[in-house]
Symmetry: C2
Subunit: 320 residues, 2 copies
């Protein structure tokens, strides 16, 4: 008999659900679309239906479902299990953990999606075996998470680990938040697409300019770079340089062993890793820079469910 | 009877020595010049002579001297007690803790001066009562230290806490190390004096230009600013803005309660604090920015001896 966890990854488009064992393996999966501007009770209904199906699988294996973990974009309060706001879903102050717990009768815990992914890569992914690491997830924004000496670092009010909000270039562009030149404003997929559209205008001969601006997405930019387009390659080099600046700061302040780069854009590793590693080593104190291994995420979309399952189990056992 | 510690603050000009009680109070003090390019054995001789004098004071009080703590500029290896290099003294690979321990027959521990000052402000100074804080010391360089949940954070190789080496403006000037626009390259006393000399040239009507360039030091720049000189005031405002950018990054990544600003330049608090606090609050996630209290150091020169005494006692007791 194993102690399993029902884990959720709540996104803007789908909510995914997994039955995760103590080793962090996702044994069974389910997925439902959340729909546009959904009511919390409708999403909870879908979450419960998927869980009941997976709990059936657990019962067949004579496994016990010990608790529930929900990974969600923030801002959220992981202590009270409340989503403060999710711009993608249009929710405000939704006590999601309580709503799910009332239906599934299991201790239910809510965690930020980037912290969940960080824990997932730490226990089963690119950070396994290390004690101190960070993650950067390059998506719509730049998520971050931090593990210090084997503990997820959450700070005094549970809002640490926002590595995407470090300042990389104070004169840089602004994204959502009034923090110009933050890692998020420079290195998110949103930012790279913005810069690619500008580059297409500036370089009409570039392959980037061969499609209408609104067709330029992360995948197309990567294609252009792989095909040798100089403007597209330059965007990834700059992405690497900016990531390297931030990673050097993390090395100098925290002296970690591993930095994991995840999220959709991270797949284009060969295009940005050389400039990232070069810039990090240039700016880090030499022993801190020599120690820090920058690596590509291994679990990708599964990191969140694996991680939030592990964190939920730790919380259920009073270890966190 | 109290368990006292002999604490040293090894600087480029003087080595100071104190008899520190368990509460972190410096009860007796001594000081000796180190001289130019001194031999390690000569400095050790002076250190031992001062310790013997202070141990006499301890004996009069029937106090026991439990151990020795030495705070020194780095790079150093606090695990082996070896100074790797001190440009100020011209030393390389000096096993200072062992040399002192052989003479004084007490467990002897070496710590980086900024970590020592951080611990001093944490136990008895501007950070007392908090659990998570950082310090920035604005001197020849910018030193840093980090306390996370009551523990001095030293990273995987003992080289964490170099907050002066975070990048603030990647296009900024270079200082010693090839990390342009680091906090140290922008906010050390050295950097502010460099900028003041440039400002004096640019603004010949400024009070800064009323003395020869080589006479412009931190104290004079402060005098000019206090007297209302616009160029000098601008330098402090910019200092505050750069400090605020770095503090926002620390808030977003670590969510600490307190940030202590120490070192010679920090005394001019009223000149740089407004822009520092404004910039930090602008760029920090609102709850992280609201939580972080930026404060002036309280112990100044005594923070190092108080701190290294506390850290040495913890190490002697196996608590660190």
């Amino acid at each position: 008999m194993s102690r399993d966890v029902i884990a959720y990854d709540l996104g803007g488009t789908n909510v995914r659900c997994g039955l995760v064992n103590e080793a962090g393996e996702i044994m069974f999966r389910a997925k439902q679309p959340v729909g546009a501007r959904p009511k919390p009770e409708d999403v909870v209904g879908k979450m419960v239906a998927m869980a009941e199906q997976l709990m059936g699988e657990a019962a067949k294996r004579h496994d016990e479902v010990a608790c529930i973990g929900i990974g969600s974009p923030g801002p959220l309060n992981s202590r009270t299990g409340t989503i403060v706001e999710t711009p993608n879903l249009g929710w405000k102050d939704v006590p999601l953990a309580r709503l799910v717990q009332e239906r599934l009768k299991r201790p239910t815990f809510l965690e930020n999606d980037a912290n969940s992914a960080c824990w997932g890569e730490f226990v089963r992914g690119a950070g396994r075996g290390c004690k101190t690491m960070f993650i950067l997830t390059l998506g719509t924004g730049v998520g971050g998470g931090l593990i210090l000496d084997g503990r997820l670092w959450k700070g005094i009010d549970d809002i640490a680990g926002h590595l995407g909000h470090v300042v990389v270039d104070p004169d840089g562009p602004k994204q959502v938040f009034d923090n110009p030149g933050s890692l998020e404003a420079l290195c998110s997929a949103t930012a790279v697409i913005r810069d690619a559209r500008a580059a297409a205008k500036q370089h009409p001969d570039s392959k980037l300019a061969s499609v209408p601006a609104e067709k330029i997405d992360g995948k197309f930019i990567e294609e252009c770079a792989v095909a040798g387009d100089a403007a597209a390659k330059g965007l990834f080099e700059r992405l690497g340089t900016h990531l390297g600046i931030a990673c050097a700061s993390f090395a100098n302040v925290l002296n970690p062993e591993v930095g994991v780069i995840g999220g959709g854009l991270s797949a284009a590793w060969n295009l940005y890793a050389p400039s990232m590693i070069r810039e990090m080593k240039r700016r880090a104190l030499p022993p801190a820079g020599a120690r820090l291994k920058l690596v590509k995420a291994e679990l990708y979309d599964d990191a969140g469910m694996t991680g939030v399952a592990g964190l939920a189990l730790k919380r259920a056992l009073g270890e966190l």
